[in-house]
Symmetry: C2
Subunit: 206 residues, 2 copies
């Protein structure tokens, strides 16, 4: 319905979906915003406001259909389609994510792998051949929707420079530097930042 959706709302959508999935697995058919809010530790108001950015999925006097709402959330996030995904960096982190996607997220089709270490080039992971930087620069140009960067920061920056002119629409960057490219949405993960925030909280209890 409403056009602009803030980042705060977008970041909450996957969480709503996770909880609805769990409820569905427990064969729960319907839930009110009040009940869901209690389970998720958020206000019922926030849930209703957030959802109404996208449409009225509930019914007065009844609440929300669990399966239906979960489906709507998937549509909203675009999880009802597939994505061609490629990895730059096939070390342990890259392989961990590859394995996770293969086992749990079938909408992501792994179509390309890159790693410039001589002992990695030419090997196969999940049935896909690992390409050198030079080979992959060609591969990158077409048929990839999402690029996952699980490689050192320097490489992340090089890759970012090659992004324009490709069909890549999103980058999920685990490198320890922030990259950006016009026309491409980048999410910079920065795992160590969250560990450092944890340290802050450990040293400042309450």
């Amino acid at each position: 319905m409403n056009n602009y959706v803030s980042d705060a709302v977008v970041r909450r959508l996957p969480r709503y979906r996770r909880y609805l999935k769990k409820l569905k697995a427990q064969d729960i058919q319907r839930i009110s915003s009040k009940e869901l809010g209690e389970i998720m530790d958020v206000t019922a108001s926030q849930i209703r406001q957030d959802l109404n950015h996208f449409g009225g999925f509930g019914q007065q006097g009844y609440g929300y259909g669990v399966a239906e709402l979960e489906g709507k959330l998937e549509e909203i996030m675009g999880l009802d389609r597939t994505y061609n995904i490629a990895f730059v960096g096939c070390g342990k982190l890259g392989q961990a994510i590859i394995n996770y996607l293969i086992g749990n997220e079938p909408i992501y089709k792994i179509v390309g792998l890159c790693d410039n270490r001589p002992d990695m080039i030419g090997t196969e992971i999940a049935g896909i051949k690992v390409q050198s930087k030079e080979e992959f620069r060609q591969r990158m140009r077409q048929g990839i929707d999402i690029l996952v960067i699980t490689a050192p920061a320097v490489i992340a920056e090089e890759v970012a420079a090659d992004l324009s002119g490709t069909e890549i629409k999103g980058v999920w960057n685990f490198g320890h530097t922030e990259i950006s490219a016009k026309g491409v949405k980048v999410i910079n993960v920065h795992l160590s930042d969250s560990l450092h925030a944890l340290c802050y909280y450990i040293n400042h209890p309450d």
Copy 2:
């Protein structure tokens, strides 16, 4: 100075520190909030407000000393001490983080590893023996500050139940479920949520 610091501020501290580290590596001595704001793409006002939660680290007419401010931020986050850290789950993700910490974050001392897979128990990673769930339950009770959970959700929930009575002050949870324990700060990472948010943005450009 000010007592309550919002989560929004805490989450920005590691980012400030990263940029200051980079400036220091470039031998830059001083920087104004205006200049830093331009580099980081935030307002000068926000930088000054954020820092003044913790004290006046700058000097009028001059700006901030890069090295000094970086040092202050490390103190604030508690990065000027060491942490005993242990891992539950020594698969690829766990090993990736272990390697990263060893190579880049010397303040985290790896003191314990747990994995219940028969072929992992008894093996050594980074000179530390991998313990079974039973052995590790004992190990957990003392001498660990931070627990990293890089294991399936079920295991994360079991571990959370064993947390009380230990000395563990923080949990960095990569399991795909949200855990909590009283007296312990938990950061639930949820990598797949950020991938799903990326999908949302890919499907809703601008």
